[in-house]
Each structure stands twice: as C-alpha cells, then as structure tokens.
C-alpha cells in the first residue's frame, strides 16, 4: 500500500454509499453508533453527512473484550453512551478498521445488553484481511491486504489519517 489515502475523501464516499444502502433498505431514521476510539471519529463524520436528528452513540467495548484475562482492563476505558432507546431501531455500527472481527463481536454483545435493535449494519473505514470470526462489513471504505505483523491504525481526532506500521 504505497499510495497515500485521503481519509476525508474516503469517508465522504463511504457516507454516500451508506446513504444509498439505507435508501434501498427503506431505513429512514438510523441511529449511528461509533466504537471507541477511531470508530467514533468516523461515526461523527458519517452522522454529519447523513444529516440525522438523533444524537450520536458511542460504545467502549472494554468490558466485553475476550482477551480481558490476558491483558486486563484498560484504565483509559470510556463510558459507553447511547443517548437513545435501541429497541426496534436500525443501528449503523461504525468502526475504523475491521481486522479479526473480535471488536465487532464484543460490540454486538454490548448492544444487545441495551435492547433488541431491528437491524445492525456494519460500516467500517478499512476492511483488512485477518478475520478470525464469521463477521464481515456491510459497507467498507476500502479493502486492503497487509503482510502478517503489519497493522493499520486511524489517527485523529483533529485531522484524520491512516498509519501503517
């Protein structure tokens, strides 16, 4: 991956495709939920582009991680904040990078502790390889393949950029 990715353009395209997706599905009032930390930055921009009246939701999945016994709790854990009822609502779940799928598994479990949504659509900025669970994005800004041991990370929050390491 040598070319420089313009994150703002990528999110704009992703938001356009999300709009079409929602239209095809006849979903008028989705609730946008971002996953801490990078997912919230992307979710904010998509939420803005969709011009929604509902507030933005934020999930911190630290309490639902499956590697808790190995790494312990992250002291930087932020409160999850879903300022709406999710029962029978259509959720747009937004994250920056989809990799193993374990974060999304945790996020789905946490969402269901708040209620029973009508549907959940997974929107990610980057869908990379390395899946360890049967979880795929409904909408992805870009698909990339990385060498083993390589990581891609979204940096922000002021000006968003992708960091490869």
């Amino acid at each position: 991956m040598n070319e420089q990715i313009n994150v703002d353009d990528l999110i704009k395209q992703l938001a356009d495709r999300t709009m079409h997706f929602l239209k095809n599905k006849n979903i008028d009032h989705p609730l946008v939920v971002g996953i801490h930390t990078g997912g919230v930055w992307v979710a904010k921009k998509i939420h803005h582009a969709l011009q929604l009246d509902s507030p933005l939701g934020q999930l911190d999945i630290s309490f639902y991680r499956d590697d808790f016994t190995k790494i312990g709790i992250n002291p930087q854990v932020k409160p999850s904040h879903l300022p709406f009822e999710i029962d029978n609502q259509h959720i747009l779940l937004v994250d920056d990078v989809l990799s193993t799928g374990r974060t999304i598994r945790a996020a789905l479990n946490e969402l269901f502790d708040y209620g029973r949504p009508a549907s959940i659509t997974l929107v990610v900025l980057i869908e990379r390889d390395g899946r360890e669970l049967p979880i795929q994005a409904d909408l992805a800004g870009k698909h990339i393949s990385l060498a083993p041991g390589q990581h891609i990370k979204l940096q922000g929050p002021d000006s968003l950029s992708l960091m490869l390491s």
Partner: protein, 299 residues
Amino acid sequence: MIIDVLDTAESFAGVTRRTVKKVPLLRGRTVVNLFFEASTRTRTTFELAAKRLSADVLNIQMAASATTKGETLLDTLANFEAMQCDMFIVRHDRSGTAHFIARHVAPHISVINAGDGSHAHPTQAMLDMFTIRRIKGDFYPLSVAIVGDIAHSRVARSQIHALTTLGVNEVRVIGPKTLMPKDINALGVHVYHNLEAGLRDVDVVIMLRLQRERMDSELLPGELEYYQQYGLTEEKLKAAKADAMIMHPGPINRGVEIESAVADGPRSVILQQVTHGIAIRMAVMSMTMGSGLDLGTET
C-alpha cells in the same frame, strides 16, 4: 492509581443505568465474600458488584462457620482454593488480616480488603473520593473536614490517605482528644477539638460513626454530651460553606453524630455514596482480577 480506579468506576456507573445491568467481564469466576465482622452495605455492594460483573458469589459469615469448630483460618482458605475460587473479599476486626491472607494464598487469587480493624477500608475511601469528584470536580481547591471518632476509624485513615494523595487543599480532623490517634500529626492533617471552628468554610464534611464496639475503655462521658459537642446540626453546619456536601459512610446514628435534618437534607449525599460503592467495587474487582495487578495494601 486512585484516578484510574475512579475513571474505571465512572464507566461502570453507566452500566448500572442500562436495561441489562451486567457486563460479562468476570463470567465464570468465583468471588468469596469472607466477612468475619458484621456488614450490610459493604457486603451487599461487593456482592452486587460481583454479580454485575457476571461472577458467581459465595457469602461466608465466618463467625458462624468452621473457625468456630477449631479449623484455622489458613485451612479454611485452602478449602476455598480447592473449590477453585478466584477472589477473596475480606472484612475482619483485626488490622492486617487481608494482607496476611494475601501473603498466604496461591498467587493467582486476588484479595481485596473490605475493612480491617482500625487500619484501612480502601474501597470505602475510593467511593467517597468518587462521590466528591462527581459533585465538586477538582480535588485541589477543597477543604475537607472529617468529624468524630478518628482513632478507631479505618475509614478515616483511608480517607486521609486518599485525600492527601489526590492533593486536596486541606484535610481537617475534628473530634475529642480521647478519639484522636496518637500519630495524627504525622498524617498531614489539621486537628480541631471544636466542631464549629473546624467546619469554618469547608467544602466537604465527612461524619463518622461512633464505634462503641471498638472502644476498649470508656473514652466518652456519654452520647448526649458527644452530640452536644460534635453532633452535626443545621445550626453548626452554618460555619461551613453554603454548598458544603455532607457525607457519612454509614450506618448513621441519628441523634448521636448527626441530626436527621442534616442526614436527610439537600446537601447530604449519604445515599449516593452507597450507589457509588457498587461502581467502585466493580472497578476494583475487574482491575485486580484482570491483570494480577497489585493495587497495594493501603488505598
């Protein structure tokens, strides 16, 4: 470290407002509440905290248990270890018991001090700090007065430790000479023997319970006289700042250390303290169990 606990507790406080008040963090783990001394609030909030973390909980009232049949404490603990328990929450009337147990159990077992003798009650102090921070914000500008039986109070010791660590402007202790510990001046606090003088312009008033069960001799002339001198009334509270918050770790003795009008008044946060105890204990349990982290033996 205290700030990390308070921040983590803030996240857990959000969990208790949801439809499903549980997270799966400690699923499959077993927590043993080992209480050698009576307790209502501490035991039940530890139990609720463990359950909201999805752990299984055993409540053991040790006075009525095997130790009365001659089994030693360490033998009893070895049995709980053999039952694959993961965490002991220990309350004992002898100082240092939790520390003693922590040194003798298998290394993968976490031990949390839920109050030991007149020594320390760390999670109570942390939930008090959590309550202060939620209402007052920053610790630096605050003057905090702790009133009553300082000598016998493990809560006061842990609070003083936490408040000075967090860098509050001033910690005052107020009480009769007979209820002040001998080493009080080494704790970095200001000592007052007159309630109104001590309350002058404070932001936080923490009342302590008169602990008759821990007094080995008659240190007090009588409850009535104590109330007249050190009981917190609306009248005496006028010396404190108008927005001063009133705290008490419970159980409260109405008419002994605090007037009902104050305990039930708008500035009292006594019941909020109880609620916050759950989030703090969830934070402490998950932080110790998750990483084998040593949070220290004090606060």
